[in-house]
Each structure stands twice: as structure tokens, then as C-alpha cells.
Amino acid sequence: MSVIDILTRVDAICKKYDKYDIDKQNDSNVSGDDAFARLYGVVEADIEATLQKAEQASKEKNRASAVALNAEIRRTKAKLLEEVPKLQRLAFKKVKGLSSEEFVARNDLVQALPDRIQAIPDGSATAPKASGGWGASASRAEIRFDSDGRFDDEYFQQTEESNKFRQEFEMQKMKQDQGLDMIAEGLDTLKNMAHDMNEELDRQVPLVDEIDTKVDKAASDLKNTNVRLKKTVTQLRSSRNFCIDIILLCIILGIAAYLYK
């Protein structure tokens, strides 16, 4: 028997004896055909997870990760809030095997859900009703004022830290200014050189044009001369004259040799 056969047989046996699996029965019993219960279970689980994340975020030292976690929490909350209307619809459906008390309880649970979801801390909790004058800004929940309106004498006092920070800031600014000055000087020189190069090239343009025409003329003259030269040479080199020249030369050499012998 191959492995695949064993696997198939195991699957078949499990399916047959599923009804004897107690844990699975319990789970499915709880949410069986009941869509409401299933969805409710899912929402509950999500809320639990979000609460855990919120706890973690509040313990978090690193501001960046705290912010990231808070953002995640807010997203999950928004999603959950969307699920709530679905749950409400499901709650109104009558399911068999459900007593009327349970039905009412379900409705209550669904009503309580939005509040629970909102109550999950996500780092943007304001003291909404307490700060009266800024009620309008409660809608921009991300921006908050730590002091809640207490601007007493101490508030504007410069602490040591802020003094040092200001000094450092000034120094850095000065250094940057110096650096920028040097860059500006270099750029000035570059600009001047570029301008001068521009003018020089402008100066060269007509000269180069002149060279161009002169060279063209010279080239055409050369071509003419070449053609004429070729004609002359072919005329001279014509075989008949050549042979006559050679014969005459031989005769003369023969006569000279004869004379000197």
C-alpha cells in the first residue's frame, strides 16, 4: 500500500468517526448552524486581541512602534464597527432551538458591542467632554493638548533642556550657513567659467565655419586635380607608346654594348 492510499484511508476513517470527537462536537454545537453565534465569536476574539495589543502599546517605550500599534488598533476597531450592523441583523433572525430570553440577551449583547469596541484604548483617547472649549477639536482626535488648559507661570518657563536644545540648534544653523556660503562661492566660480566658455565657443563658431568652407574648396580642387592627373597618366601610359619606348631603349643599349665590346 502506498502513502497516498494510507492517507486516503485515514481521512475516510476520521470522517466516519467524527461524530465521536467530543471537542469538535462542543465547538460546532456552540456555533452549529447559527451564523449569529459564529460571527459573534469571531468579533469577541478580535476584541480580545485588540485589547491585548492596546496593552502592549501602552507598555511600549519606542514611540514609533507605539504609534504603529495604535494605528493598527484603530483599523481593527473600524472593521469591527462595520461588523456590528451585520450582527444586529442576524440577531433579529429567529433560530430554532433558541429561547426568547436568549434572543433578548443576544440583542443586548449586540447593542453593547459598539461601546466595547470604542472603549478599546488606541492612544488617541481624549478627555472629550471635560475640555469644554475644545469640544470642536475633539473630532480631530489625533491632536491633543497635554495641559488641558492650564497655562500657568511654569508652563512658559524655559527649562535647561530647552535652552541647550536651542543653543545646539543655533550652532547647527551657523554651520550650515557656512557650508552653504562655501557652496555658493564655488557655484559662482562655476557660473563665471561656464559663461566664459559660452562666449569663447560663440567666438569660435564663425572661425570653424570658415575652416569648413576652405577645406571643402581644397577638397574639391584636389579631386579635380586627381582626375586630370589620372587622365594624363593613362594617356602617357598607353601601351603603344610604352612598348615603343622599351624597344627603342633596348636598341640603344644594344648599340652601346656593341660599341664598347
Binding site: 559662482d188 563665471n192 559663461h195 559660452n198 562666449e199 560663440d202 564663425p206
Partner: protein, 296 residues
Amino acid sequence: MASSDPEKLMSKADKLTKLTLTRWSADWRSAAGLYEQAANAFRLAKEYEKAKLAFEKASKAQEMLSSPWDAAKHMESAGAVAKELGNWNEVADFYRRASNLYIECGRSQPASDALAKGARALEETVPDEAVQLYTEACSILEEDGKEQMAFDLYRAAATIYIKLEKYPDAATILLRLGLAADNCKAVNSQCKAYLGAIIVYLYAQDFKQAEKCYNDCSQIDAFLRSDQNRFASKLLSAYTEGDIEEIKRLVQSSTVSNLDHMIIRLARKLPTGDLSALKAYSGKEQEEPLDEDDLT
């Protein structure tokens, strides 16, 4: 061939050109060749006087042969030799004749080059003459529409004037440079020329002229939009306030370092003279109208 005694070459050439009973027409062609050889030989032997003479005769021979180009070339060589000798007015003369011959050929660039060479030769000794030659060279180029080439000549002429401490003339030449640059749309050179003129006036302690110059130049669009304009206005305002530190600081800036180095030297020596006198002058100008009002 006749690479032997240049003297002999000279006498032979002379004989060729002299008209006698046996010779009815002078043989300029061979004479020219002989003269040239003799002249080169003399130059190598460092007998400058004779070389000069030979070159002159060669040039005349070429003229007779109606080739002004070669004649001009020989004239230039004669001028160079005369420079070695130290006959300054002869130098100027030779170069001028060479330039005229070039113009006969219809080639203005070599003509002005010849004059420029003459001017450079005379810079140290007879600067006035040199400046003359430079200006003539510039006018030749301008007539021919080749102002671009004239920039360097103008700058050299201005340098000579500054050395001679003839500041108004220097400023005038710089303004002419600006004009030439305007004709060929060389904006950068133009602005630099104007700024140079203003600085020269300030160095000569002629504040009024400097201001007038600045006002004139501000009417020119290209200058108005340039860096040099801003620098000039800052400089002039520093002058009216008599703020020496400010002036010293301004002339260290890079705008000045882009100018001609003679002008940079002048600028670094600013402010000259009595700033308070300048202040008093500009103050007086404002008081006078008040006086007139008082009288009436």
C-alpha cells in the same frame, strides 16, 4: 645652392633688381627669393641690422610681384627683428605697413594681429604707441564685424592705461569693450566690462563719474539684470555711507574675482582716498538746493 654668404646673396639680388643698360626689367621673382634667403641667414647670424634691411627689400620685391600677403609676412619679420634692435618707431612703422598690406589682401584678422603683435612688442617701452596700435587693431576688427576677437585687445589696452595710471582713458576703453560685447550679445563680458569701468572710476576717486557711469549702465537691460549690477549698487551705497568695512568686505566677494586681474588689484586697494570727502561731497549736493530755497 646659394646657402653660402648672405652678403653675396644680397649683392646678387641687388644686381638683379637694378636697372642698367643690360637689364631692362628687374627680375623681382628671383630677387625676392634671394632676399629672403639672405635675410634668414642674417637672422641666424644675429646681424639684425642687415637682416632688417634684407626683410624690407624682400617685402618690396613681393609687393612688386603683387603678392601683398608675402610682402606683409616679410614686413612682420622685419618688425620682429627691429624689436630685437630696439628701434621702437621703426617697429611701429613696420607693423603698420604689414597691417596695411594685409588689409590690401582683404584679410582683416591678420591685419589686426599684426598690429597687436606690434603693440605687445612696444608695451614695455613706448606704451602710448602700444595703446595706439591696440585701438587701431580694434577699429579694424570692428569695421569688419568681428568684434568678438577685439575683446582681448581692449582688455590689453585697458591694462596698459591702468599701468600708466590714466584712469579715465582706461574706463573709456572698458566702456567701448562693453559696447562691442553688446553688439555680439556677449552679456557676461559686457557686464564685467561695465563693472570694471565703475571700479576704475572709484579707484581714481571720481565718485561723481562712477555714479554717472552706473546710471548710464543701468539703462542697459542686460546689465540691469546681472549680478554685477547688484554688486555695483551695493558698492556705491557703501561708498555713500562711507562704510570702509563694508567696502572691504564687498571687494572680497567672488564677483570681483571674476574680473580682469588688473581690475581685481585695483578693487582690493579700494577704498582709496578720503571717504569723508566723498560723503561731504554728496552731502553738499543735497544742501545746495536748500540754500537756493532759502534765498527765494
